[in-house]
């Protein structure tokens, strides 16, 4: 009798757990709709989406590559008022004016056009490197924290090793082994960031693992993978997402520190981090050269953070009810 009751209880719990992820299609649809509404009602998140679309539009429509590619010619600036590489050396460091809204840089290039074009490299670097670092790090931390024992020790000591390399040295290592190039730089930044994600994911997992519901799930015989996916991941995801939105800004800036050792984009290709780096030499003389790229980073990071918070609200199981 007791046995039957237990197994019945099992079924109930199992069903409830199943419902959350493997529910019938109708349930999912209505759930999605509800989530979508929650998201839309979250005004900051909508502002985030708006800002992100703005930056994406900048990146995509900086020039008319989508037309030029069919006509077999060099793309012409579209959104950007000028060619970002065109130098007007005589008027260099000119302050913002009607012709050049954000002034000219130290080579006499239009800062606004460079910011618009620069969004391409910077978005790519910010997103991809954080994605690489975030996914690999979170997986490391989750696996380590959840499985414990030897696996945990090995994974977290590898994270220690990676953490012991400051970005510049990691950049040099990637440069020495894989060579230069934008994607190798993104990889380098990703590797630098991964142990920080691993540590946060690891610590959160340790905390969550001890919760009653994990014990409950385990007692009914749920597998490791299932527990990790259903119970742990959703509970640590918010910290990971927040960390990701924090590190995006760093990743965009680190680009500048790595491109000067030959990793990443070469001059004169515009990128926000490098623009700030160059502009800082003229901080007192022509503050606009470094101020506007800084503002661009701020807006982008703001967009990702607002969006990240909005997403977290949706992903967080506790906030769904």
């Amino acid at each position: 009798m007791e046995d039957r009751l237990d197994s019945k209880l099992d079924v109930v719990i199992e069903e409830e757990l199943t419902e959350r992820l493997d529910a019938p299609a109708i349930r999912i649809r209505s759930q999605r709709k509800r989530l979508f509404q929650t998201f839309v009602r979250n005004r900051p998140a909508i502002l985030g989406v708006f800002l992100l679309v703005l930056v994406l539009v900048m990146a995509i429509f900086a020039d008319d590559w989508f037309i030029a590619i069919f006509q077999g010619r060099e793309p012409q600036p579209l959104l950007a008022p000028y060619d970002p590489l065109e130098q007007d050396t005589v008027n260099r460091l000119a302050p913002p004016s009607r012709e050049h809204w954000m002034g000219l840089d130290s080579y006499g290039r239009d800062t606004l056009s460079r910011i618009i074009y620069g969004s391409r490299v910077s978005l790519l670097v910010g997103l991809l490197s954080v994605l690489i670092g975030g996914v690999s790090g979170a997986l490391m931390g989750l696996t380590g924290g959840f499985l414990g024992g030897k696996v945990e020790n090995v994974i977290m000591r590898v994270a220690d090793i990676l953490m012991a390399f400051p970005s510049l040295i990691m950049g040099l290592m990637v440069l020495a082994v894989l060579g230069g190039g934008l994607f190798n730089m993104i990889l380098a930044i990703g590797i630098v960031l991964s142990p920080t994600f691993a540590r946060v994911a690891h610590s959160s997992t340790l905390g969550v693992k001890e919760n009653e519901y994990v014990e409950a799930a385990r007692s009914i015989g749920a597998g490791n993978w299932r527990i990790a996916r259903v119970h742990i991941l959703p509970n640590i995801i918010s910290e990971v997402v927040v960390l990701a939105s924090i590190w995006i800004a760093s990743a965009i800036r680190v680009e500048a520190n790595l491109s000067f050792i030959g990793l990443g984009v070469s001059p004169p290709t515009p990128a926000w981090g490098s623009m700030i780096r160059d502009g800082t030499k003229y901080l007192f003389q022509a503050p606009w050269v470094s101020f506007f790229p800084g503002l661009a980073i701020l807006i982008t990071v703001l967009a990702f953070n607002l969006l990240g918070d909005g997403l977290r609200d949706i992903l967080d199981p506790k906030l769904q009810n």
């Binding site: 900051p44 020790n153 977290m156 000591r157 220690d160 090793i161 953490m163 012991a164 390399f165 400051p166 970005s167 510049l168 040295i169 040099l172 290592m173 440069l175 020495a176 082994v177 920080t196 540590r199 946060v200 690891h202 610590s203 959160s204 340790l206 905390g207 001890e210 509970n235 918010s238 910290e239 927040v242 960390l243 939105s245 924090i246 800004a249 760093s250 800036r253 700030i276 800082t280 901080l283 470094s290 800084g294 980073i297 701020l298 990071v301 703001l302 953070n305 607002l306 918070d309 977290r312 967080d316 506790k318 906030l319």
Partner: protein
Amino acid sequence: MGKYILSRLLLAIPTVLAVLTLVFFVVRVIPGDPATAALGDYASQEAVEALREKMGLNEPLIVQYFNFLGDLVRGDLGASMITGKEISDLVKQVLPYTLELTITSIFIGTILGVPLGIYTARHVNTGVDYVGRVVSLAGLSVPAFYLGILIMLLLAHKIPIFPAVGGGNLKDFKSNIMHLVLPALTLGLIMTASVTRLTRSAMLNVLKDDYVRTARAKGLSERVVVLRHALRAALVPIVSIIGIWAASLVADSVLTETVFARPGLGKMLVSAIMQRDYTLLQSVMVIYALFVVGINLITDIAYSFVDPRITH
């Protein structure tokens, strides 16, 4: 616990060895060598060759590697290839500056960041929260040197309270503190930004938890609920971000150290790379790796204090 600490300390040996081996071989792959860097572009080829010989760079790599390891085991960090000074002396001179800066900025980052995070979490989606978020994001978007220069401009030049340059005299407490304030403020404010963000998020997470609700239902005052129950549960991720900052500040405070013309371990690392001072770079990396291992160990131990359910 004692056994755990011991095993972690023993595990530090392979970690440091791995870091060291990677650094040893990789710095020798990048173009340029300490002889050329030391003599500059004007020196003749034969002078460079003579110096290479003297520096022992012409020996087989594997011999150099084991020589270095051998010295290290004997506790000898070697001498800088450029200035010829004992690396242990150089580190001894620089380390106090790095430690005081790191510790002070972590202190500032924590005492500002955690309360701010709690406050914005409790007033989520109000004006204060929005302002707090934007300000903390601005803190993340500003490069350290940018903020450093602005702080220097304000508090050393416009309102000349603090000295603008140098690390101060370590033996003179007042001079030391005065030189510490501005760089520590710079790094502390930047750290505040991320600590605030993470604290806010972690607090939001737990404030909705059942036991917080239970605590509230029991009629406990909001203060007790937030500080005793919620914060405690949120502390684990907060402790880990502080740990991450502690580890990264030691090496990544280069820009701040450069702006304020302070000596520091991070700066030493970068200049060792630029000068191709192999021995200095290797030794500083060993010290840094030990730091990271140590900080991570302390953080891991801290988890079980913050959340007694976590055991090692």
